[in-house]
Structure formats: structure tokens, C-alpha cells
């Protein structure tokens, strides 16, 4: 029975992982071929070549797009996360502003972003920040903050408060109780929120489109240029996508240390 208990999760995870990985393997294959071979049915196995990978870096400013996206996503997450965590703690423990405030914060993200394009453009034009990555970072902080705050509220509300109360009795200030007790206990939630904030910024297209210029274009804006008026450069797109999902591996050490350990730490309490 014990082996069954151990095998059961894999019965869910293996089919799920295959559903994710098989299309990506096929995409990898597309990235190593050309458009003609990519669409050939039945498939023909030609010698794989790395030409598409070379081309995205030489004929397109892929490295610039990648770096712009990475810096925007990291920076906007680094700014939004602490702000959102403080906000969430105040909501969860002190009910600051009550339900109307938290609802209106979330409501700010319920408009389809397209109607915000003109006013947002005007704001950044007025601030002289147009065509800069700073503009996108600021826009993404505004976009992510409400979601992050709501995620963190859920995690703080799920927490047991005795630890914080004990710390207060022992003389910790309110901020210390937050910083030294509540935040570490909420580490799994914090990590998930950071991850999702990074991803939301990494994929955001519309604001990046209107706020960036040639040198500051992010990956989504750059990748979309491979869908041209004369057809989709599917093999280049596949190659670009393969590189664009690499940040997962940049996160690996971080994930190993904090996620896996953090998860068990959370379960210990």
C-alpha cells in the first residue's frame, strides 16, 4: 500500500507533464528546422541546424529584448512585492480601509487595459519617461501590485496569529512582528507571488508596446514582429521562444533552495 501512496501523485503529474512537454519538444524540433520542413506532413526528419538561433541574435536584437524584459520583470517585481506585502499585512491584521479599500484596489485592474492606453501614454509623455524601461517598470508595478496584495492577504489570513502575538508579548514592535515573524511564515506564498509577478511582467505586451522605443522594446513586443505581413517566421519564433523560457533555469537554484525548503518549513509550523 505504501508504494501505491508514493506512486499516486506521479499518476497525476506524469500525464500533466507530458501534456506540457510534448508540444514543447515539437517546438524544439521546429526551432531546429525551417518553415518548409516545419509544415511538412508526414514529418520529414532533416538534419537539425542551429541557424534560427544564430539568426535571432544576429538579424534581430534578441539579446536586447531579452535583457530589457529581464530587467523590467525583475525590477518591477522587486518594487511591487514589498509594497504589496505591507499593504496585505495591514489589510489582513488591521483591516485598514476595510473591504471597500481592498475591493477598489483590485477593481483598478478590472478595466480592459486597452482603454487605459491613451491616458497612460499621456502620463508618461508628460513625465518625459516615454521610450524608457523605467516607464514600463512603473506601469508593471501598478499592474501587479493589486494582484500581489490580494495573494498576500490570502496567505496572511491563512496564518496562525499566535506566533506574532507571542512576539509582541516578548516586546517586538508591530513592524518586527510583521517582518521577523509573519513574513517568514508566509514564505511559500511570498515566493509564489514573486514568481507570478515576474511572469505577469515578463509577458505583458500592450503597455510595453506603447511605452517602449527601439532600444527599450521588451520580448513580447519583439517576438510579435516575427508575425509579419508576409507570414509567420515560425522557425525563428520557435527558436526565440526556446530561449525566452530559459529564465526558468535561472530560477532553478533559487527554487531549489527556497521553494523546496520553504515548502517544508511552512509545513513544520
Amino acid at each position: 500500500m505504501r508504494w501505491l501512496r508514493r506512486a499516486a501523485p506521479h499518476l497525476v503529474l506524469i500525464p500533466f507533464s507530458l501534456a506540457v512537454v510534448l508540444p514543447l519538444l515539437w517546438l524544439l524540433r521546429v526551432s531546429l528546422t525551417d518553415r518548409r520542413t516545419a509544415y511538412q506532413i508526414p514529418p520529414e526528419w532533416s538534419t537539425p541546424h542551429l541557424g534560427n538561433y544564430v539568426e535571432i541574435f544576429t538579424a534581430y536584437p534578441f539579446a536586447t529584448w531579452f535583457w530589457n524584459s529581464l530587467s523590467v520583470a525583475l525590477l518591477s517585481t522587486a518594487v511591487a512585492l514589498p509594497l504589496a506585502t505591507m499593504l496585505a499585512f495591514a489589510f489582513a491584521r488591521y483591516n485598514s480601509g476595510g473591504a471597500p479599500l481592498r475591493l477598489s484596489i483590485l477593481a483598478s485592474q478590472m478595466l480592459p487595459p486597452i482603454v487605459m492606453v491613451l491616458p497612460l501614454f499621456a502620463v508618461f509623455l508628460g513625465a518625459g519617461l516615454l521610450n524608457s524601461r523605467t516607464a514600463v517598470v512603473i506601469a508593471h508595478v501598478g499592474m501587479n501590485l493589486p494582484f500581489l496584495a490580494w495573494m498576500m492577504i490570502a496567505f496572511f489570513e491563512g496564518e496562525v496569529r499566535q506566533l506574532e502575538e507571542a512576539a509582541r508579548v516578548e516586546g517586538a514592535t508591530r513592524f518586527q512582528a510583521f517582518w521577523k515573524v509573519a513574513v517568514p511564515v508566509a514564505a511559500p506564498g511570498l515566493l509564489a507571488a514573486a514568481l507570478l509577478a515576474f511572469i505577469m511582467s515578463w509577458n505583458e505586451f500592450l503597455f510595453a508596446l506603447i511605452l517602449t522605443g527601439k532600444r527599450t522594446a521588451t520580448l513580447p513586443v519583439g517576438l510579435s514582429t516575427l508575425d509579419t505581413h508576409r507570414g509567420v517566421e515560425i522557425a525563428l519564433l520557435a527558436a526565440a521562444n526556446m530561449v525566452a523560457i530559459l529564465p526558468v533555469f535561472l530560477m532553478m537554484p533559487f527554487l531549489r533552495r527556497y521553494l523546496i525548503k520553504g515548502l517544508s518549513l511552512g509545513a513544520l509550523k
Binding site: 497525476v12 502620463v123 527554487l255
Partner: protein, 293 residues
């Protein structure tokens, strides 16, 4: 609790919210107020300024537009489909991932892959895979004797194909959040329940679900808000067609503003959408509170 402590609690809460609120005010307040103002005015791309006050006429006009009502109903079906299906799949995977003893990091990395893909790319590659005559999916089906499926060329198929692609792309969003929620659960209640002889299924319904409630609600809510805003996949894969099968409201509003040039009308529709989603959120929030007490 004395009044002084309560007062200091209030101040502390206020201080903690201040930086975040300021950041939000700076970035989103003006665009939102502007949208509200525009929705009662006469802003078009041909005459890009708010000059006349037209009251709620754009709002009544919106409801009188059959395409808008149709888009709302398609969006409702789409949002319910993706949120429910992603939640069921996502929760199952999150539970498995929480329990699994080996390969956790590998599984976790795998599930992150689709999330890091841009929606435009996701749409384009799935369009390629699902190409009825040149796509790998129909080819694989043909190997086991299944005739080619017209994934996107028939209205009903197209709707479910778009739903499926969205699930492939976004289900991991839910998994990440739900898994974090599961990881933060305390162990004691389970030990107590086991001592009383409760099995796995009972533990799930008695302990896991109630303790997970805040995280579940937030997960559903955030996915719902994103699902309402779904745009790129539709734009790449179907443009709202065939016929009007995948006419999602965000794509419709985009066209009112940037194709129909009527920014005021689009703003009114956007505000209607906001009110609908907000009402839903408020109801969910309240429901969650009432359960917690």
C-alpha cells in the same frame, strides 16, 4: 484592548498601506478617472478630446448593441469554462505535487514553462500544431485512425479549442498559487484527524478545503479577472470567428476603440465590464467572510 492600542494599530496599518497606495494612485488613478470621464463624453480618435457631457447615453447604447451583448455571453461561457476546468486540473496537480516525494523540482520547472511563454507565441504555435492538414496533432490522430478534426474552422470546435489552449497556457498559474497554499497549511489538524481515524478523503474535505479557502478564493478571483481580459489568444487564433463563436468582450472593446475609433463608447463598455466583475468579486469576498465566521 485599550483605545490607545487600537489607535496605534490604526496608525500602523495606515503607515503600512501608504507606500503601496501612493504607488497605485500615481500609476492607475488618472487612467481610471479619465476612462470614467471619457465614458460620459464624446472622445473619438478623430476628435481626441472630451468636450460634451453625454451622461449615460453610451451605457444605454452599449446594451442596445447586439454584438456587445453577444460578446458578453460568449465571455461568460469562456470565463466559466476556463476558470472551472483550470481549477479542477490545477488543484489535482497541486495536491499531487504537494504529496510527491521525488522529482518535485523537475515537475515544478516543467509546469512553469508555459507560463513563461508569451500569449502571442502560444497562439501562433498552437495554430501551427492544430493546422487541420499541416499540423502535427491531426497527423498523430491519423496514425490511430482518427479522421482530421477541424479545430478552428467550425464555431463549436473553435470555442473549445480556444478554451483548451488557454488551459494549457494558464493552468500553471493556479497550480503555483494553490501549491503555495497547501505548503503553508499547518500539520497539527491532520495529525489530530488521523488519531480520530479520518481517511485521506475526509481529511481533504474537513481540513484541507476549509483551511485553503482564502487561497482558493483569491486564485479563482485573479484567474477570473485575467480570463475576462483574454485578448491575445483570440486575436491570433480566431479574431472572434468563425462567425461570432469566439467573440470575447475584451477583443470587442479593443475594436470599438481602435477600429471603430469610438473611445467613449469603448470606455463605457469597459466600465460596464468593471462593474460586473466588481460585483462578482464583492459577492465572493462577502461569501468568503461569512464562511470564515
Amino acid at each position: 484592548m485599550t483605545a490607545a492600542i487600537a489607535q496605534r494599530d490604526r496608525w500602523f496599518g495606515f503607515a503600512m498601506t501608504l507606500p503601496g497606495l501612493l504607488a497605485l494612485l500615481l500609476v492607475v488613478l488618472f487612467p481610471i478617472l479619465f476612462t470614467l470621464w471619457t465614458s460620459t463624453s464624446d472622445f473619438t480618435l478623430l476628435k481626441p478630446s472630451n468636450d460634451a457631457f453625454l451622461g449615460l447615453s453610451h451605457y444605454t447604447q452599449a446594451f442596445a448593441t447586439p454584438e456587445f451583448r453577444h460578446a458578453l455571453s460568449v465571455t461568460l461561457a469562456f470565463v466559466v469554462a476556463v476558470v472551472v476546468l483550470e481549477f479542477l486540473v490545477g488543484f489535482a496537480v497541486a495536491l499531487a505535487l504537494d504529496k510527491v516525494e521525488h522529482g518535485k523540482a523537475v515537475y515544478y520547472v516543467i509546469l512553469l514553462f508555459p507560463l513563461l511563454m508569451n500569449p502571442i507565441v502560444v497562439g501562433l504555435i498552437w495554430k501551427m500544431f492544430l493546422h487541420p492538414t499541416l499540423g502535427i496533432v491531426n497527423y498523430v490522430l491519423s496514425l490511430v485512425g482518427i479522421p482530421p478534426v477541424d479545430w478552428l474552422g467550425v464555431p463549436d470546435n473553435a470555442f473549445w479549442t480556444v478554451v483548451a489552449v488557454d488551459i494549457w497556457h494558464q493552468v500553471s498559474f493556479m497550480i503555483v498559487l494553490l501549491l503555495a497554499g497547501l505548503a503553508a497549511l499547518p500539520k497539527e489538524p491532520y495529525e489530530a484527524a488521523r488519531l480520530e481515524g479520518a481517511g485521506t478523503i475526509r481529511c481533504f474535505f474537513w481540513i484541507t478545503l476549509p483551511l485553503m479557502r482564502p487561497v482558493i478564493v483569491v486564485t479563482l478571483l485573479i484567474r477570473l479577472i485575467f480570463a475576462v481580459k483574454t485578448y491575445d489568444i483570440i486575436y491570433i487564433m480566431t479574431r472572434g470567428g468563425p462567425g461570432q463563436a469566439t467573440e470575447l468582450v475584451s477583443y470587442y472593446i479593443y475594436r470599438r476603440a481602435f477600429v471603430g475609433l469610438d473611445v467613449s463608447q469603448a470606455s463605457a463598455m469597459a466600465v460596464i465590464l468593471l462593474l460586473v466583475v466588481l460585483a462578482l468579486t464583492a459577492w465572493l469576498h462577502r461569501y468568503m467572510r461569512s464562511l470564515a465566521q
